[in-house]
């Protein structure tokens, strides 16, 4: 076969592909951008209300109706930061909270560090088995001083979801907050996220708070003392992703009453509701998403009046990946979790009893979160090929790309405006320019790479490949020893 024949065949294929997909892709493009506009509009309305609320807020120190909170901290080989993290959790401003650390069979000095720092003694406590767990609990420990509200549960290694389920069983308070061991909470973070429970104590079942990347910021004794931009572009780009996801996505969905995702890095739940739905599903990848979906399903099936709300105030700070390898693993995991949960709850689609969850939120996640990378990959492959073969007009293709990616930048900039208007966490002007630059650079290489990684995650699930968690390499914080 001659080279001309190959290129001619390829050209015919590309032309045919573009003819066949042009209308659906343009429709998809219009639909996704319109839905993003709607979400931006909703987020704007919500933020206007939030801003009014904030500018007229009255002091609330959590007196009276503030429900007690158990902070659940699963820890696996976290010897480096666990003591600092627990100390910072214990000193949060809140009238009634305890910290429950679940040492998930660490093979390093995690438990020894805790034992030494808090002078732990073993108690012969038998934990309730409201949520069934397979792993054996090895011991329950409390500080000898009898005052510090810390419980450490040692168990055999069986993964994060089971560790959290053990934590729910061990929790003494009516609300449970699920945290990552390396999360840094705002001193008033608990006051913010529990407020909806205090305001609506009989209906509120879960709240989520906004999460920000901590990379580059100055941290002293588990507290952020100066918010700075990350020092490299990879986390900077993730920062703009977080801004978009939390300040537009979650806020918009919360406004619409269709919040279906509360981040695993910080979520607050009524303990009895978590028990009622059977806790987190062991072995799932997107356990946070799955839990919220299960709560929605059960409470809607039973026709109960309930609320799940998002609190846009920054509540928790987390370290984001700084290497492509770790980022790849994270994105594969996220997309796999998204697919598996959406598939598991497909029966909720377009069913009247699930209201906006079934009619809006779930279809949106299917169409614009799950399938989007597939279509984007098609575009990434077909456009350069078409340019190479000369089957599309070059200025036309470039314009189309500028339009598509320009729209993505527009959405990020809308989130930036909201952030600047409502929170203005970054003092320096340099942070503004870097964020704007990151919102543009995101579209050059980063976006295409994450498209591929997400599809890898989806594909590995479809092939039934066992998920390997991998290691999140942490660079640690710019910790001041003082």
């Amino acid at each position: 076969m001659t080279w001309e024949a190959i290129t001619s065949g390829l050209r015919s294929f590309v032309v045919w592909s573009m003819d066949v997909t042009a209308v659906p892709i343009i429709l998809y493009f219009i639909l996704i951008n319109t839905s993003l506009l709607v979400i931006i509009g909703l987020a704007y309305l919500e933020f206007r209300a939030q801003q009014r609320r904030r500018s007229t807020a009255v002091v609330w120190q959590g007196a009276g109706l503030a429900p007690g909170v158990s902070l659940l901290v699963p820890a696996y080989n976290e010897e480096a930061g666990i003591v600092m993290a627990v100390k910072s959790f214990l000193t949060l401003r809140y009238p009634r909270h305890e910290v429950v650390v679940i040492d998930d069979g660490s093979t390093d000095e995690t438990f020894a560090r805790l034992e030494e720092a808090f002078d732990l003694v073993q108690v012969p406590r038998e934990l309730p088995h409201e949520i069934p767990v397979r792993a054996r609990v090895l011991g329950v420990f409390v500080p000898r001083d009898g005052r510090t509200r810390l419980v450490v549960v040692r168990k055999e290694n069986s993964g994060k979801t089971e560790a959290l389920n053990v934590g729910v069983n061990a929790a003494n308070e009516p609300l449970v907050a699920m945290l990552d061991g390396d999360s840094i909470l705002e001193p008033d973070g608990l006051l913010h996220v529990t407020r909806p429970f205090a305001d609506d104590p009989t209906r509120m079942v879960a709240t989520g708070g906004a999460i920000r990347p901590v990379n580059g910021s100055r941290v002293v004794s588990g507290r952020i003392v100066r918010v700075e931009m990350p020092q490299t572009w990879l986390p900077r780009i993730q920062l703009v992703e977080y801004l978009r996801a939390f300040l537009l996505g979650r806020t918009g969905w919360s406004r619409l009453g269709g919040l279906i995702l509360i981040s695993g890095a910080f979520g607050l739940f009524r303990r009895d509701v978590v028990v009622e739905v059977g806790g987190l599903e062991p072995g799932t990848i997107g356990e946070d998403f799955e839990l919220v979906m299960r709560i929605h399903k059960k409470l809607r099936d039973e026709g109960r009046d309930y609320r799940i709300e998002f609190v846009p105030e920054p509540v928790s700070w987390t370290e984001v990946p700084v290497t492509a390898k770790v980022l790849r693993n994270q994105r594969r995991r996220w997309h796999r979790g998204l697919w598996e949960t959406l598939w598991a709850y497909r029966s909720m689609l377009f069913r009247p009893k699930y209201g906006r969850i079934g009619w809006l939120a779930l279809p949106y996640y299917w169409l614009f979160e799950l399938i989007a990378p597939l279509l984007e990959l098609f575009g990434i492959l077909i456009v350069p090929l078409a340019l190479l073969l000369g089957v599309v007009n070059v200025p036309f293709a470039i314009l189309f790309l500028v339009l598509a990616y320009g729209y993505a930048v527009l959405v990020t900039l809308a989130a930036m405006v909201v952030d600047e208007w409502a929170f203005h966490k970054h003092d320096r002007w340099r942070a503004v320019w870097q964020t704007i630059a990151a919102s543009v650079l995101e579209n050059i290489g980063y976006r295409q790479a994450t498209v591929w990684w997400r599809l890898e995650g989806w594909w590995s699930s479809l092939r039934g490949k066992k998920h390997v968690w991998g290691v999140m390499t942490r660079t640690g914080f710019d910790e001041d020893p003082a």
């Binding site: 009014r52 007229t56 009276g64 001083d145 009989t202």
Partner: protein
């Protein structure tokens, strides 16, 4: 071609233009905030010292307060905002002096008028100012503001009524929680009612019969907080019959704090396995709070409960009941629940 070139160019120009506008907006929002902060700081700087002198209670001859009263124009506006911010943190004579400054500036009178402003923020801030100034004459206006269309205004009005502390407002505040479409957040209502003295016990009793679960819960919670034993019959009713589990748990806790000997039976009744576990646990804790030795047999029986937490709570309750309670633990010394409860109590005693 599916998309015309003109349309594509047009859409691209619009999107890029919008991007540029948003960048300018980010810069403008930031620059405006900086400029405003600087302007306020400059305007306030000559009055900063007198303001601190008054707020710290060191203005013995009243000269600093006089200086504050003489402020005019934009300086006065900035000063009044700072005074309002300070009033939420200070009490006593300094607070009275600062309120006088506000009155002299006409801010209190203006606030009463601004309760009907079209701006939500102005209405909310006006309500707060009236509360911070302890403007008793504004109670009827603030009660009316409890039904405002904006939750910020309803919140601020309840906050203000709490600061004023007139029990006349208790009924409307409690009723506002369950107002259809315009409900008052329960936390704000509870804090406001906390400050309204003993004259609200009847209002709370009525609240426990309200159709709204949040209202019943706040009323039950506050009855315990304020030790209103007259509400006990209603609390017992709620524990027995309320359809909402949170309300029942709150009532059990309240009975534990307020109850009498005869309340042992009702609490014991709801430790039965047929009841939800959360309620059973709340009742066991309440029995411990109540401290009536009549509860010892029931608590002893719960030491063998299938829920280890309930058994531990029962053991802890027995340990607080003196010799009768301790004697009931004989024969259960090896139970993990009893050993845990004993160890925790001993650790707490050692550290006390």
């Amino acid at each position: 071609m599916i998309i015309g070139a003109t349309l594509l160019v047009g859409a691209t120009v619009v999107v890029l233009g919008a991007c540029l506008l948003l960048v300018l907006l980010v810069v403008a929002v930031r620059a405006r905030r900086h400029a405003r902060l600087q302007r306020d700081a400059v305007l306030l700087s000559p009055l900063r010292m007198p303001l601190i002198t008054v707020a710290s209670g060191e203005d013995d001859d009243g000269s600093a307060a006089d200086e504050l009263r003489r402020a005019t124009g934009a300086t006065r506006d900035v000063l009044d905002r700072n005074v309002v911010a300070m009033l939420s943190k200070i009490r006593g004579v300094p607070a009275d002096q600062l309120v006088q400054v506000l009155e002299e500036h006409g801010a209190v009178e203006l606030a009463a008028a601004e309760l009907t402003s079209r701006s939500t923020v102005k209405r909310a801030r006006a309500a707060q100012l009236l509360g911070l100034a302890r403007a008793g004459h504004a109670v009827p206006l603030l009660v009316e503001a409890l039904g405002d269309e904006a939750v910020e205004v309803r919140n601020s009005a309840a906050y203000a009524l709490g600061l004023i502390g007139d029990p006349v407002a208790a009924g409307p505040v409690l009723a506002a929680i369950g107002a259809p479409e315009r409900g008052l957040p329960a936390a704000t209502a509870a804090e406001a009612l906390q400050s309204m003295g003993v004259g609200i016990s009847d209002v709370l009793r009525d609240g426990m019969a309200d159709a709204n679960a949040r209202t019943r819960m706040v009323a039950a919670h506050l009855s315990a907080e304020r030790s209103f034993t007259r509400g006990l019959p209603e609390l017992r009713q709620l524990l027995d019959h309320d359809p909402d589990l949170t309300v029942r748990e709150t009532s059990a806790t309240a009975i534990g704090r307020l109850g009498r000997g005869e309340d042992v039976d009702i609490l014991v009744r709801h430790t039965a396995e047929a009841d939800p576990l959360a309620l059973r646990r709340a009742c066991v804790v309440a029995l411990g709070e109540l401290g009536e030795t009549r509860a010892v047999p029931a608590l002893t029986a719960l030491l063998d409960d299938s829920d280890p937490r309930l058994a531990e709570l029962a053991a802890t309750a027995l340990l607080t009941m003196g010799p009768d309670g301790t004697a009931a633990l004989v024969g259960h010394e090896d139970d993990p629940a009893v050993r845990t409860a004993r160890l925790l109590v001993s650790l707490q005693k050692a550290s006390a």
